[in-house]
């Protein structure tokens, strides 16, 4: 059986219409999240690397659609800890399940799984590589809060070097004529290859090393990410910048009324607690949107829409 057309490994193969269609489907799930579309289906969630949030979101999506879930949330309890290959695990599980949702710590694991599996694969994150459902829920959140995806001023803040969510967003937004603003410490700047990607695709961008009220005054979206200590080669540099990329409530006073603040979560201290009650804070609703987007992605992978 060929599953290649239905697996979701990355967003690279999707065009503007594909993305908008998936977002439209997610919106219909938001109006009615509980449907018995997956009645009689078994979905496996294979989490070779722990991820509470993504796993719960996918499993909730399956449950609300009336399907059943099998799987594991920690590879230490499975045969892969005994040295079983990924291929053998996938072949075994595909005997039982209609769809496999997997997260793996190795890059390209989902792509490989999709080539050997007789059932479709949804990539729920493969190392530092791809995490398409996160990007789709980010896009959904932008569309929902702004009423459009075209022509937005998007400010990406924090770790722009290693953050896969910000890289995927550049790729997915290339169809929507955005203006990006990259705000990061010197050590965690947007890599040259992604800036080149922006130039090739006619995406406007500017870089800032300061994060303050003035810089963000024109933002439609502020997308915060975590600046992690372990990413720095120079710990002195970390100590110097660690408090410079934190969003405080008083910085939002002069911002646009339509501004919304997104964060892929988990947050540590990069958004201070006093922002949570500001109506511009959207990160918890953003996580909720993940459910509707994942319902759409699951049904799409199973050809049920």
């Amino acid at each position: 059986m060929d599953n290649s057309g239905r697996s979701l490994i990355s967003l690279e193969g999707l065009d503007r219409d594909d993305i908008l269609e998936l977002l439209r489907q997610a919106a219909t799930f938001e109006t009615k999240p509980d449907r018995k579309i997956l009645d009689g289906k078994v979905v496996a969630t294979l989490f070779f690397e722990p991820s509470t949030r993504t796993r719960l979101s996918f499993e909730t999506a399956v449950n609300r659609l009336g399907g059943r879930v099998i799987g594991f949330s920690d590879a230490a309890t499975t045969s892969s800890s005994k040295g079983e290959t990924l291929k053998d695990t996938i072949m075994m599980v595909s005997n039982y399940a209609d769809l496999i949702i997997m997260r793996h710590y190795l890059e390209g694991a989902a792509k490989y799984a999709s080539e050997i599996s007789p059932v479709p694969i949804i990539n729920a994150g493969d190392g530092a590589n791809q995490h398409p459902s996160q990007t789709m829920l980010d896009l959904y959140s932008m569309l929902k809060t702004q009423g459009r995806l075209d022509g937005l001023d998007i400010f990406l803040v924090g770790d722009l070097k290693y953050g896969r969510t910000v890289h995927s967003m550049l790729t997915a937004m290339r169809f929507f004529n955005p203006t990006f603003h990259f705000i990061s410490p010197e050590e965690l700047k947007m890599p040259a290859e992604y800036k080149e990607f922006c130039r090739e695709n006619g995406i406007r961008f500017s870089e800032h090393s300061e994060f303050n009220e003035k810089v963000i005054s024109e933002a439609d979206i502020i997308y915060m990410t975590r600046v992690q200590r372990e990413r720095f080669t120079d710990l002195m540099e970390y100590e110097r910048v660690k408090d410079s990329f934190i969003l405080h409530n008083d910085m939002l006073a002069g911002t646009k009324p339509n501004l919304r603040i997104l964060h892929p979560l988990p947050r540590v201290n990069e958004i201070s607690q006093d922002v949570d009650s500001n109506p511009k804070a959207y990160y918890f609703q953003q996580a909720k949107n993940g459910l509707f987007v994942r319902e759409a992605l699951i049904c799409n992978a199973l050809n049920l829409l």
Binding site: T85, L86, K87, H104, Y105, L106, E107, G108, A109, K111, Y112, D126, G127, A128, N129, E193
Partner: protein
């Protein structure tokens, strides 16, 4: 001209077969491995660190009574694109062939990303040649680009 002829003579002429010329000196044994020359029974002469006007130092391999297909030769492009193949018939160069650059490279190059699935599973590596001029490879699985100078063979 005289000088060039002398260095040619350091390795014996062959009547029929293939002379692989302009191999970077440090890639001579990679070429031996890629073409599977260790299992060939016809006479082979391997010259390394020979003086070259163009390259400074080069390697040359002469294989008697053996010709190579396009596919076999295209593998060589991942390590050394400027290699020239001389087809020898009756002690004469009957044909000079440049190495064709393939669209895809399967099973011969190792991905340089230690976190790539291909370095952990018993599976074939696959790379797309994304920049034919500079020989940049892109891993089908993890998406990382490998510049030609960083290519390591499996």
């Amino acid at each position: 001209m005289e000088k060039a002829k002398k260095s040619e003579q350091l390795v014996a002429a062959i009547e029929n077969g293939t002379v692989i010329d302009h191999i970077p000196s440090d890639k001579v044994f990679d070429v031996v491995n890629l073409l599977g020359l260790t299992s060939i029974t016809t006479p082979i002469t391997i010259g390394a660190n020979l003086t070259s006007h163009k390259m400074g130092s080069k390697g040359i391999i002469k294989i008697a009574d053996r010709y190579f297909s396009e596919e076999e030769c295209s593998k060589l492009s991942v390590i050394a694109p400027n290699i020239v193949l001389n087809i020898i018939r009756n002690y004469e160069v009957a044909e000079k062939k440049a190495i064709p650059v393939p669209d895809e490279v399967r099973g011969i190059v190792k991905c340089c990303n230690p976190m790539c699935i291909t370095n952990h599973e018993p599976m074939q590596t696959v790379f797309r040649v994304v920049d034919k001029r500079n020989g940049t490879l892109r891993c089908r699985y993890c998406g990382k680009d490998i510049p030609r100078d960083d290519v390591k063979l499996l």
